[in-house]
Symmetry: C2
Subunit: 446 residues, 2 copies
């Protein structure tokens, strides 16, 4: 796995004295945790990035984020390419006709170049906008560095911040509240969807006459993302409306802005403009659910993905309607894809429950005072979901976990990034598909 190599290199670099502000050799666990968190674009931290690491340490972290994010985007987009070959031929032609997608007939070099170009365009756009805000407060050179760091961190859905309280100080800045979310959304929506959006714009600009045919992936991702963003904003707004520790003392406009920001960032980026540890329990629950769902395939984000959620939802709808097939936007979903969605959710749930269970058990034995100090197992669950879905939000307990628990979180971040199916397949070892056909038999369910 390429990820492992990058994490190892990152760990070694972050251990060197020049990486930290106090100039001493770094604790290997801190270096490993930070490197994994950066490469997996998670954003969980055991030390404060801005004050603990020197400029060089921060630069290494930023490079690890960029390599991790780009690597993931490229790998998963290649998967789409492979997937594309299995399309029904007639359909594939229909799609190609209207979109003429570079990644369907281009070679892999063209694809990689196109992904890098997209990344740079969005990141530079983010740097320019944020520089205006940060340079006013921190001067030109420091402001530029802050803009570069936060733009790259946002596009890659990494959630690393150089401020000890993430973006809480900028909760009322319109520029930050729209630049960062836009970078997060486009970074998380997937390369294929961005390309289809781009082609649509080209289509309208050049005023072509053919009818636009969007891919199923595009329609599912766009509609599910929109629903989640709007619902998230409204629900966060309602829940935290009266909580004096989060939105309570803000203006109406400020509340709406913060709810919007939190709705975008919770699903995978992991920045925060309010103190997560002071959210209401209802807010924490909503956050855990949103983190688990995550972003869309072939973007930079994590989680079980919007498409998986939509398949489960439409399965349920089919059962309620008495249909034997699952249909989305007038397309039937193949059975193997449904099985895959089930496997992703089943595997993810088990992984999250198992790790939460092991950390609870471990802290109970090694560190009995941990839970006595008012920390609840809900916070452990929160932390594990955050690590698994590469979100990086935290109620603030990461640093006080014992080393074994931190190693478990490192494993969780890694699994969440390479994909639970790959991870389970690696554990299960080589298997051959079955060739025998068996008769059907039914059984009672539910």
């Amino acid at each position: 796995m390429g990820f492992l190599a990058v994490i190892t290199v990152g760990t070694l670099l972050l251990m060197l004295p020049f990486a930290t502000n106090d100039g001493s050799w770094n604790n290997p666990l801190v270096a490993l945790f930070t490197s994994t968190s950066a490469v997996c674009v998670t954003g969980l931290i055991v030390v404060d990035t801005g004050s603990y690491f020197s400029f060089w340490g921060q630069l290494i972290i930023l490079l690890l984020i960029q390599v991790g994010g780009l690597g993931y985007m490229t790998t998963t987009t290649f998967l789409i390419l492979l997937l594309g070959r299995r399309f029904d031929l007639r359909q594939k032609l229909a799609i190609q006709e209207s979109f003429d997608r570079p990644f369907l007939h281009g070679n892999s070099q063209t694809l990689i170049r196109s992904i890098i170009a997209t990344t740079l365009i969005f990141e530079i756009f983010g740097i320019i906008l944020m520089f205006n805000v940060f340079s006013q407060k921190y001067g030109t050179s420091q402001g530029l560095w802050l803009a570069i760091f936060h733009s790259i961190s946002a596009w890659n859905n990494a959630g690393f911040s150089l401020f000890p309280d993430s973006l809480m100080n900028f909760y009322d800045s319109w520029i930050i509240n729209f630049t960062v979310p836009l970078l997060i959304i486009f970074g998380g929506i997937g390369y294929q969807v961005i390309m289809e959006l781009y082609m649509t714009i080209v289509h309208f600009v050049t005023n072509k006459q053919e009818r636009l045919v969007f891919s199923l992936n595009f329609k599912v991702v766009i509609s599910t993302t929109a629903i989640l963003l709007i619902a998230g904003t409204l629900i966060f707004f309602i829940i935290e409306y009266a909580n004096p520790d989060t939105f309570g003392n803000l203006s109406f406009e400020g509340k709406l802005l913060t709810a919007w920001f939190q709705s975008v960032t919770t699903r995978t980026a992991g920045f925060n403009s309010i103190d997560i540890g002071k959210m209401t329990f209802a807010g924490l629950f909503l956050t855990m659910g949103f983190m688990f769902i995550g972003a869309s395939p072939s973007g930079t984000g994590g989680g079980i993905k919007t498409t998986t959620l939509r398949i489960l939802f439409n399965c349920t709808r089919s059962v309620l309607r008495g249909n034997d097939e699952v249909v989305m936007f007038r397309r039937e979903i193949p059975v193997p894809l449904i099985l895959k969605a089930v496997a992703v959710v089943f595997g993810s749930t088990n992984m999250v429950v198992l790790i939460t269970f092991l950390i609870s058990l471990n802290e109970g034995i090694v560190n009995p005072s941990f839970f006595d100090s008012g920390v609840s197992s809900l916070q452990v669950l929160f932390e594990v979901i955050s690590a698994f879905a590469t979100v990086g939000l935290s109620t603030g307990i990461t640093a006080s976990l014992s080393p074994i628990s931190q190693l478990l979180l490192i494993l969780t971040m890694y699994t969440g990034r390479v994909g639970i199916l790959l991870f389970m397949a690696a554990i299960a070892g080589e298997t051959r598909p079955r060739v025998v056909q068996y008769p059907e038999e039914t059984l009672l369910v539910g």
Copy 2:
């Protein structure tokens, strides 16, 4: 719905003065909660059954439990009957040949009589065994009443107890630790499985020569139940080994016995021989997972059911092995059944999350001191899973919830009993199955 009528009658009866020990008219919410909890064989309580209700009140509760449990068993067994008609004919004949099941060719009256007979046989067996224990401590008449109440409550997986601390006083009684679990297991394993077990015994006693052919349902239920029971015993034993508030001070034998009891009862019955509120966090997590899984179809228990869990597990295995079908015991699982399993889990998860969310929100607004007093949202989640899976274990917060939250729990118990699919179908209203065929298109998942 028959359940609603029984709950209503039960509520009215439990409101009458003769039902309570202090002889006054009962609080309607207490009566409604208790009646729902009894009919849905959940066992969550807002008042102590043994001291709050008079003998007559307790008798009403016991009748509600019996009617609720029998009603559920009969209804779901009829569903199997309907399902049986859809079996592959050749296979059905093979099964009938070896088993000659009464419920596959008998009429519904025979079926109901057979279910009632099975129920009575097991309950009487339980009463006789438990009478030995209770009569020693409480005398003949009180001992008999205790034996009757706990035997019926155990067979129906109701979890109601006349002792304020459930069966905690009998943690070291071998008779209680085997009678109650056996009643729970057989009550929860489903009528069809009991019948196949019975036929197998007859087969060996009469020394027939034909090969036994078990139904898929039988094999899946027996193997999954066995795995869960053994795994649960071992894990509870390990987790709570050193916890002085639960097993810590027991002998090795006592620890094993208590772990076994808790492993059986957690999956749906809801008795406890240790203080649930004092379990470790790891123990609470294990308990929540086990409660959610629940018992087997067509028994008296709740949860998503062992068969559903097994389908998800085998889906995941199929994906990892690169197979496009789901196979169990050399039988292919039909796709509509997989969709149904997904719908059950998706619906159940959403229901549990939604209700936990609403109760957290409600208590945060109505009753702000609720969470300040050290109650965590994890306990709310625990309570909701317990209600939904008709378990009835509690960390002790049910009675201190505000009325709206208690009504939400009542709704949850009811939904958990009539079945999430029926509940969602009722909300969704009339729908017609789609007749148009759409082309397949794939999308990226996970």
